[in-house]
Symmetry: C2
Subunit: 350 residues, 2 copies
Amino acid sequence: MSTDLPPAQGTPTLEDVARVAGVSRATVSRVINGIRNVAPEIQETVQQAIATTGYVPNRAARSLVTRRTGSVALVVSGAGGDAGGEPFESQVFADPFFGRVAGGAVAFLRPRGIHPVLMFAETAHARDQVIGYLRQGSADGALLVSTHGEDPLPRLIVEAGLPAVLWARPARPTPISYVDLSHRAGAELAADRLVARGCRRVATISGPFDVRASQDRLSGFQDAMARYGHPYIPGVEGNFTHDSGEAGMHRLLAEHPDIDGVFAANDLMAQGALLALRERGRVVPDDVAVIGFDDSSAATASRPQLTTVRQPVEDMAGEMARLLLAHIEDSDFQVTSVIFPPSLVVRQSA
Amino acid sequence: MSTDLPPAQGTPTLEDVARVAGVSRATVSRVINGIRNVAPEIQETVQQAIATTGYVPNRAARSLVTRRTGSVALVVSGAGGDAGGEPFESQVFADPFFGRVAGGAVAFLRPRGIHPVLMFAETAHARDQVIGYLRQGSADGALLVSTHGEDPLPRLIVEAGLPAVLWARPARPTPISYVDLSHRAGAELAADRLVARGCRRVATISGPFDVRASQDRLSGFQDAMARYGHPYIPGVEGNFTHDSGEAGMHRLLAEHPDIDGVFAANDLMAQGALLALRERGRVVPDDVAVIGFDDSSAATASRPQLTTVRQPVEDMAGEMARLLLAHIEDSDFQVTSVIFPPSLVVRQSA
DNA sequence: GCACGGACGGAGAGCGCTCTCCACCTCGTG
DNA sequence: CACGAGGTGGAGAGCGCTCTCCGTCCGTGC
């Protein structure tokens, strides 16, 4: 029986719904959470009461007792001290990569009613803030993307016993789950393509040597070329920027004018290389074939468009989210890693 | 006196701190929140107890009583129904613009201990989810970036009486605060520059006519040129993509081969125009000067680099955050709008 | 016909915090 | 010297929800 009492002022609570439906708070709670059997007709009555009152459960009250917030932190983390310089937030987002990560994570989390809280951790202070945030139960766990291998945050998180999943293997061994790409396999894909095109004198523009992924891309490429009978691959070191790619290509051409293929460790550098090649009058891909890495927006903005190694970033981010939820649900969930295979996106440059 | 009792298991609570410090819960709360006078020596004792217990206030418990969460939603919103198509999340982040907005908002919010929750609202269902999220008190308000003028979300938010601030003026009048750019002033800057360079036969590649900002950029440019004695400005309509800029430029050149200046409504289209011009053998900026809009990463990736109108996106996003906090603190805060002036970033293309 | 078990709804105890009283103590003042 | 004002700390009532008990009721089997 619905005893129509005057509606309470303010936002309705469970109590109000219970009164309208003529049942107890507990029953309404059961209906909402779908736990245990509640007689169908009572369920119906309760649903109706919820509709008429416009009831929405209060998140804070619920988390207080369940010890779950239904949100996770998405942390972009650097390795700096408390130095100045350009605002970290703007640097981070200059790279659409983070957007893809966010998009991939959201695609997985959203259907589950979970939303990511955006955080940055580039200074010691900011790191403490992140840890504090997690410790005070504002989020159930963290998805962590480090821009630098020496990032201390993973260790701090492990020490605090907080659930978290990393993007990419941490530089120093840490008992924490992560998702990564097989950079070596990606480099092999590039080597296969260049060789298949008939390139005989290929060179590389690598990323910084102190970045793990750079090393893997370089050595993977060298090893694959060695298997094809090319033991020596000229190379220059770039720093993942457009300009370093352009400069690197000029250097390469100066020392090895007969180059007919280039593997750049990311698209930005490949784009720079394209520019240098044009300046030197080389036609891509006829004179020199170029392959990038990442399949970023630079790949399609370049002319010719870049053939490039694609990381399934969105899928990888989704997997991070999946692992994080597993860790949150089950604190005994084993620390694990998932390595994704890259694919080659063939466009015009090779 | 600190009566050293055995530490409770699990995370310490106010109660635990109080026991260790030998005071009441209320006093600890006062010290933490800095309210009313507490004798300095007791403050000291309490601080020490907090340190030794490693106490962190529980967010849920606090919000339950304060009715504040200390977080805001950052909503990227479309106008679609429940149609399929490419995942909205990936589309959104293909554009680094959203990253800049997020960065600007975070720069303002973070020092205040507030973190944004990332949400998307491209379908009716997703919109309900956002409203529900806000209504259940998961966030204190929303920063809203609509990708489409007809977005129904602003209205829904107003109806629900939730604090929110929009990016850009809503298409239909809505009593809600917003931050916008003076697109007309930006177009004038471009006109001034082209005229100052001596261009006499300028044309435009505009954005879609059904987007308010496109209209303003176009009419602002036309009006400014009219003041300079150029009553007729040829133009084509693009859709803000690289390809539409390229195609548009080809059309423009076909119909008006003597063009010596182009104003494109965004950088991506300007970049496309650059490509078309090169194909037709026109030298930029000597034969044809090109000006873009947005100062996006495309502006610096192009060769020559683009002269472009810059929106102070980060500042604008920061202002959104400021307004939102004002609305949250004071529900009587007047609905307002803040219009930012653009600036011209001169590079090589004009 | 009666006991027993299972299905179902209600009562009530918290979750950890804030904040309003209220009691107390110490001054200052008439 | 008494009294009031003002500064300080404590007690306790919730905030809205979940979840464990527990009681009730009905159906079933011997």
